[in-house]
Symmetry: C2
Subunit: 372 residues, 2 copies
């Protein structure tokens, strides 16, 4: 991976810390409802119809409680203490649609919001909040046939461990006992792990809904830990792909092909990743062009015709990002690839940044294009 690519990823991540809409602010609508990602029975945090978030934290003897989300000057949204010992506050503006990680700072310490569910990001289990998106239907839990998400533990000699992966098998997998399926290997970003795509990413529900609508041919998705967090964020250029490449290509893929009913060939095997998972996808697909037939980088860089030259030709190259990242770069790279004769597709998620709604939408756009 190049230094240029790293610089772009950094820029994208920094841009995304401003996760507010830029429009002038109307009066705050008092129609707040509990976030859909709250712990059972918890009333807070809440979200209103405009995308404002409101927090309420019990800490009667604290001197200061802050939420890492929001404008509110540097340091997020400062909560104010009420006579009842609860700290409350509302973001100064509406948030971008979709999923956001956050945490609290209580008297200088970092804690999670006890009202919210936790999601692994920033190399810790963070609180999560969901701003309902206008297009949330595509990742909603609906009354359609559902695939399963399986935790597998696969042997890894190179790391002397049993390693964990999650495998999405589509609806009908258990019943259609002789059918074989293509496989997408799907990677999380830096600070995240193998839980991200099925928790905050809702990959299984996106697939279930696409399959129910007849929009895609069912396939398997495999999600494992990309070992990305073994370097600190500021030292990503020191990341070496070889360790993870060995786990993925020499250990996980043979295990999946032996234990699931896969179409075990290049044309029916794809790799995709978000952010640093895109950097991994970029490196591994170029190193192993006979293993994967289709590649997708979600807010995770681009390919050039030059670096693809002389290798087995990709069936599909998919590049995406949020409109608040660097869409020009994605569009330009895609145009260059097309001009060089590649089947390249660009997708830009409107009004989103370096966050999970960009990647949910990217998967939703990518899936129908794969394994044709």
């Amino acid at each position: 991976m190049t230094h240029k690519m790293i610089a772009v990823l950094f820029a994208a991540a920094l841009t995304s810390t401003t996760c507010f809409s830029q429009a002038t602010q109307p009066a705050v609508a008092e129609d707040f409802k509990p976030s859909t990602l709250n712990q059972p029975g918890q009333e807070y945090p809440q979200v209103n119809s405009q995308g404002y978030a409101r927090f309420r934290i019990k800490a009667p003897k604290a001197d200061s409680v802050r939420v890492s989300l929001g404008l509110g000057g540097r340091g997020g949204t400062r909560l104010a203490k009420g006579d009842d010992g609860f700290w409350t506050g509302t973001t100064e503006g509406p948030m971008d649609e979709g999923f956001h990680y956050y945490h609290l700072t209580v008297d200088g310490g970092t804690f999670n919001d006890p009202g919210a569910l936790n999601y692994y990001g920033s190399v810790r289990w963070e609180s999560g909040i969901e701003i309902p998106a206008h297009d949330q239907d595509f990742y909603a839990l609906k009354d359609v046939p559902h695939g399963n998400v399986q935790q597998i533990l696969f042997p890894s000699k190179s790391t002397s461990t049993s390693r964990r992966a999650f495998v999405y098998t589509p609806p009908g997998y258990e019943k259609e006992k002789s059918k074989k399926y293509p496989v997408l290997y799907l990677q999380h970003g830096w600070g995240e792990d193998e839980t991200a795509w099925s928790n905050q990413g809702r990959a299984n529900l996106i697939m279930d809904n696409l399959i129910a609508e007849g929009k895609i041919k069912p396939f398997i998705i495999v999600m494992t830990y990309g070992m990305t967090n073994e370097v600190k964020w500021g030292r990503i250029k020191d990341f070496k792909i070889e360790h993870f490449q060995t786990v993925l290509v020499d250990e996980l893929i043979p295990y999946v092909d032996a234990n699931f009913r896969t179409l075990a060939n290049r044309d029916n095997r794809a790799m995709a990743g978000l952010s640093m998972g895109g950097m991994e996808t970029h490196a591994i697909t170029l190193n192993k062009p006979d293993v994967f037939g289709s590649y997708a980088l979600l807010s995770g860089g681009t390919y050039t015709p030059e670096e693809l030259n002389g290798k087995s030709k990709a069936k599909l190259i998919f590049l995406s990002c949020g409109s608040k990242e660097n869409p020009d770069r994605v569009n330009k790279a895609t145009a260059d690839l097309k001009a060089a004769g590649y089947n390249a597709v660009a997708y830009v998620s409107e009004k989103t940044a370096h966050e999970f709604l960009t990647w949910r939408r990217s998967l939703h756009e990518l899936a129908p294009l794969l394994f044709k």
Copy 2:
């Protein structure tokens, strides 16, 4: 379920709040290591070879930080603030072996320890800590063939939702395409949910290890939410079994039998539960004696010959608890059942209370007895 049974469960739960060994205390050994349930890279909480736990929390401007675990007077272990802004403290005595839930109280608010992984208990995601048990080998992650834990979403007309369950399929399930398996339906306790048995319970690893040792015939385990938390702890006697019974018997079991390779008959179907899950098992097995062939109550009450009289005879009745609960009651009930001609087995977990090591061990004892 009877008021007597509820009283006994309450007594057990109250007893278990003292989770310390009673022996005189030696000097604290300074061989503390990070708990095995810490978040990646986190040094604290730590545990020493005697079972003491040590905590370290950053909260430079807090006035008070307490851990809910430990003697330390009422309210757990009080931490002391250092000049570096970190609060530290060690439990006043060694803890019982095994898994414990806990949380922090920071300036009067309830938060989780940012160093520890979270586990659903007490109707919230709590911090977890693990005191290594002398017999921990039976639930360790080893280099043996591993089964999978699948998240399924099954349709439930009675609750108008897609409901979640986890299904353990044993190693080889994917490869042996014509083999059919018995099924154990395994319930969590009050305050917990369908994640408990595979997270804090390590049910999948217990099974993998027993199968690798040739000690059991492989079977499937199904774990779903028992709807137990819809009543408050103090109002458990108001709990109505009918809603969950409908979900389990009329919705989940047919779905599992249609989508997994099960031996779909009474003799090859068992139900077990811990604590309030035992109360559910007791009620449902008596209401539906032709659905389940074997019953197990783990710290979850007993059966009497009278209430079983006139129903299809159970192949096995398994009753267990920790030695710090009420083993006499379990032993007496088992003796009564045996005297009445039932195949009843009692198991008492030594030196444990109403906590998960009792239930891990109970599953380890139960599994070899099932489906003979």
